[in-house]
Amino acid sequence: MPGKLKAKIVAGRHLPVMDRASDLTDAFVEVKFGNTTFKTDVYPKSLNPQWNSEWFKFEVDDEDLQDEPLQITVLDHDTYSANDAIGKVYIDIDPLLSSEAATVISGWFPIYDTIHGIRGEINVLVKVDLFNDLNRFRQSSCGVKFFCTTSIPRCYRAALVHGFVEELVVNEDPEYQWIDRIRTPRASNEARQRLISLMSGELQRKIGLKVLEMGGNAVVGYLQCFDLEGESGLVVRAIGTACTLDKLIPGSEIKESPLAHGCRSSHNSPVHSACSSQRLSHSQNFSVSVPTLVFTGMGSGISVGKEAGPLKTLLRQQAQSALEQREFPFFTLTCFPPGFLVHIGGVVSARSVKLLDRIHNPDEPETRDAWWEEIRQEIKSHAKALGCHAVVGYSESTTICEEVCILSASGTAAMLNPRFMREGSVCVYSRFDDASPPSCGFCHIPYDEFNMPFPAQLTYCYHCRRQKVPDVLFTTIDLPAEAAVTGKGCLIQARLCRTKKKAQGEVNATAISNLLPFMEYELHTQLMNKLKLRCMNALFGLRIQISVGENMLLGLASATGVYLSALPAPGGIQIAGKTPSDLSYDQHISTMQKRINDTIAMNKELYNIHPPECIEEVVGSPIPDRQRSRLFRSTSESSDELSELDLSHGKKDAFVLEVCYALLRCLSIYLSLSPGFYSCNTEVMPGIYNWTSGLQMFTSVRVYRLNNANLTNQGLNKIFTDLCENLLKSLYFKLRSMIPCCLCHLNFTVAVPEEELIQVRRHTPKNTSPILFIFPINILVKIKLCVFVCFPGSGENEEQLQFSMELCGESTSSNNQPTAKPSVSSVDYGSFADRCSTWLELLRLKAHTIRRGSVKTTSSSERCSPLPEVRSRSLRSTRSLPCGAPVTVVKMTPLSFLPRTRIVKYLGIINMFFIRETTSLREEGGVSGFLHSFIAEVFAMVRAHVAALGGNAVVSYSMKECVFMENPNKNQAQCLINVSGDAVIFVRESDQEAIPPLITCGQTSTTGADGTT
């Protein structure tokens, strides 16, 4: 009995009217944990009951503490009939189990009902007393910390990075149990919510055990996913990176000395070959030719380069031996401590098509374990082929359509520093370190240049001139902080639609697996061409999503393009026609070529890419034709913009024109959006360094219905591209008031829900009627998470910029100058009370910048000056709250940090699953109204949980799942949402800076107050 859970129900507010006669409610509360239930007294006739209950105490095993959520049900007492449920609150008590996280959960929680949504709020207090249990064979793993963040959390130091952990649990889906035929939708939804909550608790506990076994104390980059397989069950799986983290004492020097243990993580399971599975995969590092590289006056460069050869082999040997002990040398991290990453090979990915109805015993995890094992092995071998011993930025995903399931895994093959693998090799590291500076070292090829895994053009690194680099680099990780970048980055997307015949079972699976390689190839070609069009040479954060529908496959690849200074300049794009001779045709080609060249030139300006070209000029080396990549036809019929250059294929003119327009359209879109807007799907925008703390997270969901059932590949591609572009356009429009800004961590997700399928699969009485449409196809495009960060760009801030920002300077000057003009030291914040807080932020930032400049020249007493203003601002903001206890402002962001703030404490992982269903769709404002309020409710519940833990932000927030089903004929809809993130407490950096001088003056308590503003 190693734990005691205590809960106290304080009060309720804004309850719904349950008794029509009196317009009041007689509410009471049931508190349930495991199999124990307590009840409060009935608080009669009130919409704002004050229960003020005693402490309800549950004595439970810590195993249960980890698995079970605390379940609070608010009911309306009814003397004659059954009590009506008002709603429920599930509280995950996991954050209380770790000594370093939260100590108490206390606050207002929205009371949630799966049919009615949020119905009032309840104030709850929860505490846990843990007793130490030293039993070696215990089943719990209390105290292991979980982080969704895919980098080492900000206030910790990685003492050891152990490696990959994974786990998977399977259960029957309550939605598909026989009992679902007779129970109410509410009961069924609640059973599902509870089950998933239990399963994710169990999953975390099991992963925690593995971590403890490895000797770690935390999981970083924890990624949990649900597979709603339907009949065959419900799978919850998770991967992560086990670490030993040490808490940093604020102010102490950050010293990174991560060391990795050799530990095997995943358990072996017998491999069931689930019939008709086809795998395919390929490493993604295609090459395009590079300009000849000439050395100028760097005599030593060559010799060092040669020297590095043996060093590299030595390094590889060491690292390999360290990592070989491990089954899967995978890391879910995308950001690394400096020096961790030595070289990057390229993207490795593997996909496999499986049939769900052929699982021998669906309730057991073995089959799925075997599937994933297979894929991971493949990834591992790909990495080896690239001369790398590890995979970083690793992630796994699935897409399910009826009984077909595609499992995908991808990551970036990399060489890690042996220092992180084993002790005692520091000297080698330091020598090696000299050989490749951090700003370009990771670009250097890890593989043997005479024995390349794929055709690539190698050149000497443009930065250090000592080692070879490839001409382009594709990765799934974030841009390393130390990387040297020219200009700014931008979001690059490749979109692709492929129709396929409707089929069943194996035939279907075979058809899909036959299509997949073509899709990957085309997506890749598209990415490559778009990259070149923007005059960039590297992709970061690459994420390729393939989703299956009944009669189509969708591919969406997003990444952030960057010009890495170390890599050679990308060549232009040259269009080559295979059947010339026709004069007008040649003309077409030449005009098109000209347009493409113009575009590239414009993009160079736009993204501020001005690589030093002197080398070529000095030597006068002829730029050979090889520099230009030649686009040859792809054999496939279908296609999109650039890969569509299938010129030997009849209908030439039409094609040329189309390509032309497609290119220009794509070009014009990007140009028109550019002033003040930037977007990327990585954590930070390369080339922009002056973030403000004004930040906005949003979710956007769109569903399109395709009317025409017999659409061609080409037509679909166009539609799909338009959809994505429109969505982006729409975002830019909505956020226009916040220019200049940057959309970071844009995360697109597509799905192809099939209407009739949903209906057929639901056996519940609510939804049995067959659907009448013949082939309705919905494309669900979700931009799930985007952060929006404003950055100031006008003249005053130039001093802070490392790269000048002419573009945004223009866009802000009109907005910003008038307010910013008064000498900054005497800015009257009160006068801006009505302005958007972003501008306030911006002004404050400006004031701060200027002041920081002055610190250098004046005495330290000056340094205190920002604080009074900061404080008065926070005072004012609390005062201006109309009345009552103000609701804590909780920021949410998919980033792992908040710009211009410092995270002082991680309070625990947030992992919540909600179902919402309605039988009055029209009354709730149609599908849009329904989903709009549901998403708002989910946000509200996440914020409430974070606030109850004492936090003021969620970082690494992500909406993992958003499944939407509707039946407009029956006026019904259902939606499932899964969100996760890390609850944190942050304080503003400026406050921090202002504190030191104050502490010496004897005033210490400023952080807490300001942190909540």
Partner: protein, 354 residues
Amino acid sequence: MSVELDVFVGNTTIMDEEVYQFWLDGYTVNDAVKVRMEGGVLEECEASAEVLRSDTMDQYRTFQMCERLLHSPAKLANQLLFQIPPHRQAMLIERYYTFDGVFVREVLGKKLSKGTKKDLDDVSAKTGVTLKSCRRQFDNFKRVFKVVEELKGPLVENIRQHFLLSDKLARDYAAIVFFANNRFETGKKKLHYLTFQDFAFCAGQLIIVHCNHSRVLMRPALIGKEFLQDLKELKILITDKDLLDQHKSLVCTALRGKTKAFNEMEANFKNLSRGLVNIAAKLTNTKDVRDFFIDLVEKFIEPCRSDKWTAGDMRLYLTHYTNSAHILDTFKHQVVWDRYMGVIKSCILKMYHD
């Protein structure tokens, strides 16, 4: 291909003030899109009509979801569903409760009942305010009325605290509630020239006095029980012939030579004085209270206007008329007189225009 579902939700609720105004004004989504397009947002951002429509729909949905909260503004601050910065909350509330002058002029003094609500389409047609907006404004009046009716303490302060409105708006609401409660006649043709602000000012004058219950408070302050009898006593000024003559001669002496309209003043003195004092006497009868404004216009303002008094004349006359009563040695009700005339004087001065 059609857009089936299109949703955009921000952690901090994103709102466009311009669209909010369209929504408040009862524009349909299509109309709002049209107006916005004409407004030139599109050129600014090179967005398409589709984008604009999607944005407008999103905003409208957000406002609809917020509307429930706006009905009891205090909830907006401690609800959890929308994260809205405080200054935005204040803006939302203030704008939601702002009303159109033309609309309120039509319903001023009417009973805030279902019957009146049914006639709103006529009001809408007459004023050009959309029916949706009319309903919102009417419901706002009704809501404020209902809440304030039950509360003790000063009217304006109650409204301000309960609905978190600005001082100006709270005063206007107090006036509306006051008029509705006493059902002052404001719709007669003779009163058409008066604006809502005129009435609101008079209402403010009439409800200055504090009582401890709104039900009482919402009746004109002059009818406080203690004054009921005293107001009747003022009649002596017109019934006692000596007193009337004495009063007249005092006023005339004071006014002589100071105004061009002196002759008319002298000639009309008895009529005007009778008018004002009769109004005071009438106030004691609750049913006659609703004719207060019409009486004031018919018995006093119109005669003066036909005699071409200027506003300065009016002020001069009223001042001396009030003050001269103090010199009358047989007139004992100085306090009531001052209080009554203070209110009446400021009302008349406000209402004396074209």
